[in-house]
């Protein structure tokens, strides 16, 4: 429902702007990609030669980091984007602000918006959408097919499990306050793809949990993003948090860390990410 409302609002915004449908770009010689997953897809499709700039969230593959960075995807500066003389702008849903995109379109830069959806089909739709926009629908279909199979295989592995593990995704722990993911997020999506259950179902998005809620959630596993640095120390800190220490996850020392863009990007690497997560969650399989 939230997805629908967000799309509705985006469509309202889009009413005053040129159509955001995924028609092919007229000229993709100088392409700017806004959204880490879109950048990954472009590389996976072998179309990276067209890329002239990326946004802050594009961190993979490493070659992408060498491209100029036009800033945060929701706070684009029109002149900054124009400084790389783009002919085409591929943006993930939620990029903005709308005024910036409007100015860019007046400058003759076409832009297309790719919807975001944290699901198996969502990844495939993204790939197909990028393919459409770039005029390489066949390559995209091929890639989508590969990812589809890989994802299906990963999902298959956990299809028969009766008791699914409860996973608590912790976004951050500032000053002892646990910021955890509810439904509707990328974390929730990946957890479900990996055949597990989100320990939190009471709210959408990321919120701070009370200690009693953590205990009541009784997660079997704790999942976090990998931020580099000393892993052992932070793991100990987290598991010794008063509420967390009472959970099955702490008692079983079930703590998983994975790279953020890899885990939550919902792009070409998602199938591998799901497989890795399944391995970590259900080592007995």
């Amino acid at each position: 429902m939230k997805r629908l409302r967000t799309l509705f609002a985006a469509a309202l915004v889009g009413l005053s702007l040129p159509a955001a449908a995924l028609e092919p770009f007229t000229d993709t010689s100088r392409l700017v990609s806004i959204g880490g997953s879109l950048t990954e897809i472009i590389y996976a499709l072998g179309e990276e030669a067209k890329l002239v700039a990326r946004d802050q969230t594009a961190v993979y593959p490493p070659q992408a980091l060498e491209l100029p960075d036009v800033g945060y995807m929701r706070a684009l500066a029109p002149e900054g984007v124009l400084s790389v003389s783009p002919t085409a702008l591929l943006v993930i849903e939620g990029s903005g602000p709308p005024e910036a995109l409007e100015v860019l379109s007046h400058a003759g830069v076409e832009y297309r918006t790719v919807p975001e959806s944290f699901s198996h089909e969502g990844v495939l739709d993204k790939i197909r959408a990028v393919g459409e926009a770039l005029g390489v629908p066949d390559k995209a279909e091929a890639l989508a097919g590969e990812i589809d199979a890989a994802l299906a295989a990963a999902e298959e592995r956990t299809a028969g499990i009766e008791t699914r593990k409860r996973v608590l995704f912790i976004l951050s722990m500032q000053g002892g306050k646990v910021n955890a993911s509810g439904t509707g997020t990328a974390a929730n999506g990946i957890i479900e793809l990996a055949g597990a259950v989100n320990a939190i179902e009471d709210y959408e998005g990321y919120k701070q949990l009370t200690e009693e809620a953590i205990i009541a959630a009784a997660p079997d596993v704790i999942l976090m993003m990998d931020r580099g640095g000393d892993h052992a120390a932070s793991e100990a800190e987290i598991l010794s948090h008063p509420a967390i220490s009472l959970t099955p996850a702490a008692q079983n020392h079930a703590f998983i860390r994975m790279d953020g863009a890899y885990l939550l990007g919902f792009g070409p690497r998602t199938a591998e990410a799901v497989a890795d997560l399944v391995e970590a969650l259900y080592p007995e399989l």
Partner: protein
């Protein structure tokens, strides 16, 4: 300049009598006007894209054709990005500085800023409401207001809180400034609480948006915003010029100002309206840009003295120049990305202000 005295002998009057700083004031206004002009040109000629301003301007004035592969791009950059941005930056910088100055005169306190009339908390609340619940609870409102819902809500929020504050502080036609200050604290706390609830409800994207709004930016400047906020700010700036006599008199206190011929209650009302309009219209399109309203009037007061006949225009000019310079920095230092302008104004303004204070410690006679 020789003047005849009553006894008929000519006394050459001194160039400036001792204690009369109007010469410094006039010089400052001229110098700052020149500075602003220079910075406006700088603003039009710098940018991440490297577009050249003069060819586009010449073309727009019908003086020369515009050619080249980048012609359309450069035209958009110069006329649709940099020009509205420069205009907005000038107006907002002037508005913030003048609002700060008027507030300091109204509250007779060098620490007063436009936020004291409640406009900042209200504007912030309006903006946060649209950002967080604009697609849920306030969806009909957002749909009605279109893509400028954020700006309209912000402006409206600022005006509503100012109006409430004014009514609370005004009894039998007399506005008690001290009451307004205290009520502002209360209403600010209330707005803060509601904002806090909304922030709690916000998701990741919305939190990012809120942060960026709070740091302020001229990045979204376009002609629509110029046409929406520009006339209001301009009217407020022009109106504020008429406040200088009253502001001077008010430094002696309200009773004495009245004895000096100032209609104090209408004066206060107009001052509050002008500040709310100027600040509300500015904050609506640029987010919260701090610092300009406090520092610019201060620095000028230390240099040219507290005579508002010169302080008002000088503040407007310096505020505009300062903001334009900060904006030029914000969009070139991490190009092609941009720094929120509030960061730059604080980074640049803070140390500079400290330096001025250290140098002029002896001159602070109040």
């Amino acid at each position: 300049m020789a003047q005849a005295s009553l006894s008929g002998t000519a006394h050459p009057a001194p160039a400036r009598p001792a204690g009369d700083r109007s010469g410094i004031g006039q010089t400052a206004v001229v110098v700052l006007a020149g500075l602003l002009l220079a910075v406006m040109v700088l603003s039009m000629t710098t940018g991440a894209s490297g577009a050249s301003a003069w060819p586009v301007v010449a073309h727009a004035l019908g003086l020369a054709p515009l050619e080249g592969a980048d012609a359309l791009r450069d035209q958009v950059v110069i006329l649709n990005i940099r020009l509205p941005r420069m205009i907005l930056g000038t107006l907002i910088g002037a508005a913030l500085a003048v609002s700060g100055l008027v507030m300091q005169g109204l509250f007779r306190n060098p620490l007063a800023d436009p936020g004291l009339v409640g406009v900042s908390s209200g504007a912030g609340l309006g903006a946060v409401a649209i950002i967080v619940v604009g697609t849920t609870i306030l969806a009909p409102v957002t749909a009605f207001l279109g893509i400028y819902a954020l700006q309209i809500a912000s402006f409206a929020g600022g005006l509503v809180t100012t109006f409430v504050l004014y009514r609370v502080a005004t009894r039998s036609g007399q506005t008690a400034i001290a009451t307004m200050l205290l009520a502002g604290i209360a209403i600010g706390a209330l707005c803060g609480a509601v904002t806090g609830v909304l922030v709690y409800m916000a998701d990741d994207n919305q939190l990012r948006d809120l942060t960026f709004w709070g740091l302020g930016s001229l990045s979204g400047a376009n002609w629509t915003k110029v046409l929406a906020s520009g006339p209001i700010i301009l009217a407020a700036l022009v109106g504020s010029a008429f406040l200088s006599r009253g502001l001077n008199a008010m430094t002696l206190g309200e009773a004495t100002a009245a004895h000096l011929g100032i209609s104090v209650q209408p004066f206060k009302r107009w001052a509050i309206v002008l500040v709310a309009a100027a600040t509300g219209a500015s904050v609506a399109v640029s987010g919260g840009i701090g610092f300009v309203g406090i520092v610019v009037p201060h620095v000028l007061r230390l240099v040219i003295g507290p005579d508002h006949r010169y302080l008002l225009p000088a503040s407007a000019l310096l505020g505009a120049a300062f903001l334009l310079m900060a904006d030029a920095v914000s969009r070139t230092v991490v190009a092609p990305a941009e720094l929120p302008i509030g960061i730059v104004t604080a980074f640049v303004g803070g140390p500079f202000f400290l330096w001025i204070l250290l140098r002029r410690r002896g001159g602070l006679a109040w």
